[in-house]
């Protein structure tokens, strides 16, 4: 019941979040900016969908969070990778690589 079916897109978003956080703790806005910048705005997700994902991944024990002050002195919720998250990131990166490989093979021979 709780383990929602992971469709590809949601899986992708989870992977992007984990990867982004592997560089260190960050708040939601920061994660959105980072994903946008690094992908050259190619992956512009609706920013609102980021937060449910963050909460879900945190509830699953992959992230931890705490309220901290930003450099500009504002209160924000910072997320960071938990140990389980780090392991999950590895798994998902391999998973992703396999998927890409598969898809590109199909594209080449089709």
């Amino acid at each position: 019941m709780a383990k929602a079916k992971k469709d590809a897109l949601q899986g992708t978003l989870d992977l992007l979040i984990l990867k982004t956080l592997s560089r260190g703790a960050m708040h939601g806005y920061g994660i959105a900016i980072h994903i946008g910048q690094v992908s050259g705005d190619a992956l512009r997700v609706e920013e609102g969908s980021l937060y449910p994902a963050l909460h879900r991944i945190e509830q699953a024990g992959l992230l931890s969070s705490e309220w901290r002050l930003t450099e500009t002195g504002r209160r924000a919720k910072f997320y960071s990778l938990a140990a389980a998250g780090r392991r999950q990131l590895e798994v998902e990166e391999q998973e992703w690589a396999r998927l890409i490989k598969g898809v590109s093979k199909v594209l080449r021979y089709a």
Partner: protein, 896 residues
């Protein structure tokens, strides 16, 4: 489901979670604006705030569900690790809950359940009360004496019913009459059946639809030309016809008249009384078939139950006032003499079982007893949980130290008690299902009616479930809260043993044991009172000799045997029975002794005025020759009723000593004459016999006179009982006696063949049931209390191993330590016993009406209960005490 859980959860968490989500989103939008976007742009990039918030909430809800699953799995694992604890906890709950749901099944059927008909709550049963001068000359049906010579009944005459039907307050009214002991012959096999006579509109008005065939209609219920039709009760159809469709349109003989089966009732409707299913439903107009002496048109004979559904919008008060006027008018119109007082109308709820009144005392008493058992089981569970939580202090401390929230740990412990309670509840429901018919069948007799079965419906299951959950929450919460209210540091260091805080848990544990003991004392006192009542009843003087007496009831159809013909037939059967080998004497009487059946009438010595209120107090018994010899009732003066007292002879009677004492103190009774309240005429007293019990075992011999059976007009009209004094074991001649009777006429259908001893046993059934249940509940309570005492003392000793070690190192003898622990046990027990005795003194009054030759504050029962409890308490304290005494001082101190 989701939404519900969410609502539940957010009710607890709302403020923090919602606040944080809002702040998080606000921060995001704010940052966008700071980075140079307009608020509108920020919102567009973000998408729907509402949807995002909702999805965030969802992720928390599913997490909650997951953690519940985790808790349950953890609880199951923990319980599997301590199987003894689990078994004891589940078993004690199962006993408590099982007993309660078994009793609740009966309560539900009798007191709560509504008739399975349309709008049962609007149904009213009509009833009346009247002063001492009553208009009706005879009442057949419920009859209740009230203070001041007043009386009340639910029975009305047929003419009054017709008059009452025309009223604006009720939608429609119908009438019915319950009758038992009607002889029915199906395929050559005869048996006694339970019949309801119903007015033609009953089915239509109630909205009862037969499962097969058709219902009785007004066209079937026409006086003079009643159609001989019958609707079968569902259970009867199942039993006698194997639920065969061929039953429809077949012919059965009711009191030797042919009746056509036109329909079968639904299983849900089997009459108006709980636990007393009706076999056959006949139109009211067939009453002459049931009893030829009854005429529907007789206005002075009150016998019918009347029920109706109140019109919507009519108030109870105005309907009652209006119906009261209607009743006065109906009485005036149908009865000629007007000097007497007209009865006043009353309403009773019609949608519930009509016989609930007769079960009240029993049900309330049993509900009380099983309630005590459940309380004891709960206290037991609570002290077990407490001890368990205490022994897990270290584990809990570790979890708290590792950062688990207190609420999380409390929830974990609560989940465990919930799992226990649900397991106990499930086992209890099964026990309750198995036990639901035990009590009604203990109370019933073993030779007549088929087994009583009460329905086990969703309400009973709901009740059981509710009990389990409430139990778990109530008795699991306190130990959980206590166990988590700790300073992590000392608990970890002390290993959960000698931290000072466990003192309060000890006190709570002792308090639980004290209350358990007090509650058990109540049960033990009840067990004592009821057992002693049973012993007293068994030991009470009967005044007759039940040894080797066989009783056989018969109920010949009136259509075959009336008046003189009936008497002659009985005399012929008696002659046949006397020739059966092994029979010493054979006789017959209107009813069996101590069977609950008896007739009362007036006793008016010739030439003397007797106060009117004495009338009801004289009992009459119609007997054939040899009655006194057969039953072993001694003739003290004069002679018994014998063959001389035939139909043509002078009318005679024998009176018992109680009657002689009452009406002839210091006077000669033999040779004087008297009349009774009926039309029997003047009788000559020819003998005085010893006092013997008549109606029931609880009642000492009432003033009674015996009439010569052959001289009474309506001799043994309904049913009568042959009594045979035998040379051998009476059960050995059952077959021969049956044959002798059917040789006379196959229609005689002997029923209820039993020995007089069995009859006595049957009359003691309620007393025996009370004694048995109270004793077994008492035994269960004792067992639970022993577990409780053992648990708390064992824990106490373990906790104080160090102290014991020091005491012994300082030179205390083993016996001194043993005494110390035993003394502590007995102090707890004595406190509980004192409290229990006090409560018993207050509560015992409630049982007064159920006791026999016993005061509710019977010293033997009270002292016995106290002594038994102290003994068992000492015994269960002995094992921990011996363990304390065997402590090795050195080892104990090292451990510390």
């Amino acid at each position: 489901m989701r939404r519900m859980l969410h609502a539940l959860r957010s009710a607890i968490y709302k403020t923090r979670l919602e606040r944080e989500m809002e702040e998080e989103i606000a921060f995001h939008l704010n940052m966008r604006e700071r980075d140079g976007h307009t608020p509108e742009e920020a919102r567009t990039r973000f998408g729907s705030v509402v949807r995002a918030t909702e999805q965030m909430r969802d992720s928390h809800t599913s997490r909650f569900l997951e953690s519940v699953e985790q808790d349950v799995r953890y609880a199951l694992r923990a319980l599997r690790r301590s199987p003894v604890f689990t078994a004891v906890a589940v078993a004690s709950l199962a006993l408590g809950i099982g007993a309660n749901s078994a009793i609740f099944t009966v309560t539900n059927a009798v007191l709560l359940k509504l008739l399975p008909v349309e709008r049962p709550e609007a149904l009213r049963l009509l009833a009346w009360t009247s002063g001492p001068k009553r208009v009706m000359s005879s009442v057949n049906g419920s009859y209740e004496r009230k203070p001041g010579g007043r009386a009340g009944s639910d029975s009305f005459s047929y003419p009054v019913y017709l008059a009452l039907k025309k009223n604006p307050f009720f939608e429609d009214m119908f009438a019915f009459k319950a009758w038992s002991g009607v002889t029915t012959v199906i395929g050559g096999e005869s048996e006694r059946t339970r019949v309801d006579l119903v007015s033609g509109n009953l089915y239509e008005t109630l909205g009862v639809r037969p499962v097969a065939g058709r219902a009785i209609t007004p066209a079937d219920d026409v006086a003079g030309t009643p159609s001989h039709v019958v609707v079968l009760g569902y259970n009867y159809w199942k039993r006698r016809f194997g639920s065969a469709a061929g039953a429809l349109n077949s012919t059965i003989r009711v009191n030797n008249e042919p009746f056509t089966v036109i329909g079968v009732n639904p299983p849900s409707f089997d009459g108006f009384r709980a636990g007393d299913p009706v076999d056959l439903f006949l139109p009211l107009a067939s009453i002459p078939v049931i009893d030829q002496h009854i005429s529907r048109e007789d206005a002075s004979f009150w016998w019918l139950d009347i029920m109706g559904r109140l019109q919507p919008g009519v108030s109870e008060g105005s309907a009652l006032a209006g119906m009261n006027v209607a009743l006065q008018q109906a009485v005036r119109a149908t009865l000629p003499q007007q000097r007497e007082e007209a009865p006043r109308m009353e309403f009773k709820p019609g949608g519930k079982a009509l016989n609930s009144g007769s079960f009240h005392t029993t049900i309330y008493l049993f509900t009380g007893l099983v309630g005590l058992v459940l309380l004891i089981a709960c206290a037991n569970l609570a002290s077990l949980l407490l001890a368990r939580a205490t022994s897990r202090t270290r584990e809990i401390a570790v979890r708290l130290a590792l950062g688990a929230g207190r609420w999380r740990v409390v929830r974990q412990i609560l989940t465990e008690s919930m799992v226990l309670a649900i397991a106990g509840g499930a086992a209890g429901a099964i026990l309750g299902y198995l036990g639901k018919d035990v009590i009604p069948n203990l109370m019933g007799n073993d030779w007549d009616r088929p087994e009583v079965q009460f329905p086990f419906d969703y309400k009973v299951l709901g009740f059981t479930l509710l009990l389990s959950v409430v139990t778990a929450l109530l008795f699991g919460l306190i130990p959980a809260l206590l166990a988590t209210r700790q300073d992590v540091g000392p608990a970890l260091k002390a290993g959960g043993r000698s931290s000072t805080r466990t003192g309060s848990q000890m006190r709570l544990g002792k308090l639980l044991v004290v209350s358990q003991i007090a509650l058990s004392i109540l049960l033990l006192v009840a067990a004592g009172l009821f057992s002693r009542t049973l012993v007293n009843l068994r030991g009470s003087a009967l005044g007759f000799n039940p040894d080797r007496v066989l009783l056989v009831s018969v109920s010949p159809p009136q259509s075959l045997y009336r008046g003189e013909k009936r008497t002659e037939m009985y005399e012929r059967v008696l002659a046949r029975l006397r020739t059966v080998s092994g029979v010493r004497t054979a006789t017959m009487s209107a009813s069996a002794l101590v069977s609950g059946d008896a007739d009362t009438t007036g006793f008016r010595p010739t030439g003397r005025q007797v106060p009117a209120n004495d009338e009801d107090l004289t009992y009459v018994h119609d007997v054939m020759p040899d009655y006194f010899a057969t039953m072993g009732i001694p003739i003290l003066a004069g002679r018994a009723i014998d063959a001389r007292d035939s139909r043509s002879g002078a009318k005679v009677a024998v009176i018992n000593q109680a009657l002689a004492r009452r009406f002839f103190p210091n006077q000669k009774a033999i040779g004087t004459t008297f009349t009774d309240a009926g039309k029997h005429g003047t009788m000559l007293i020819v003998g005085i016999c010893g006092d013997s019990k008549y109606v029931r075992m609880r009642e000492d011999a009432p003033p009674t006179f015996y009439r010569a059976g052959s001289q009474t007009d309506a001799f043994f009209d309904d049913a009568a009982v042959f009594a045979l004094k035998t040379e051998v074991d009476p059960t050995l001649i059952i077959k021969a006696a049956r044959e002798a009777i059917s040789m006379e006429d196959r229609n005689l259908a002997p029923f209820a063949i039993r020995t007089q001893e069995q009859q006595i046993d049957q009359n003691l059934a309620p007393a025996r049931t009370f004694a048995m249940l109270a004793s077994s509940f008492g035994a269960v309570a004792l067992l639970l209390v022993c577990i409780g005492i053992y648990g708390i003392m064992a824990y106490n000793v373990a906790r104080r191993t160090g102290e014991m070690g020091i005491r012994m190192a300082l030179g205390a003898q083993k016996s001194a330590v043993l005494g110390l622990v035993l003394r502590e046990t007995l102090v707890v027990a004595a406190a509980g016993v004192t409290l229990g005795l006090f409560a018993a003194l207050l509560a015992a009054r409630l049982t007064a009406s159920l006791l026999y030759n016993l005061k509710p504050y019977d010293p033997a029962s009270l002292a016995g209960a106290a002594l038994l409890m102290l003994l068992f308490a000492a015994a269960s304290g002995l094992i921990p005490a011996r363990r304390a005494a065997s402590v090795e001082p050195g080892a104990a101190l090292r451990e510390e």
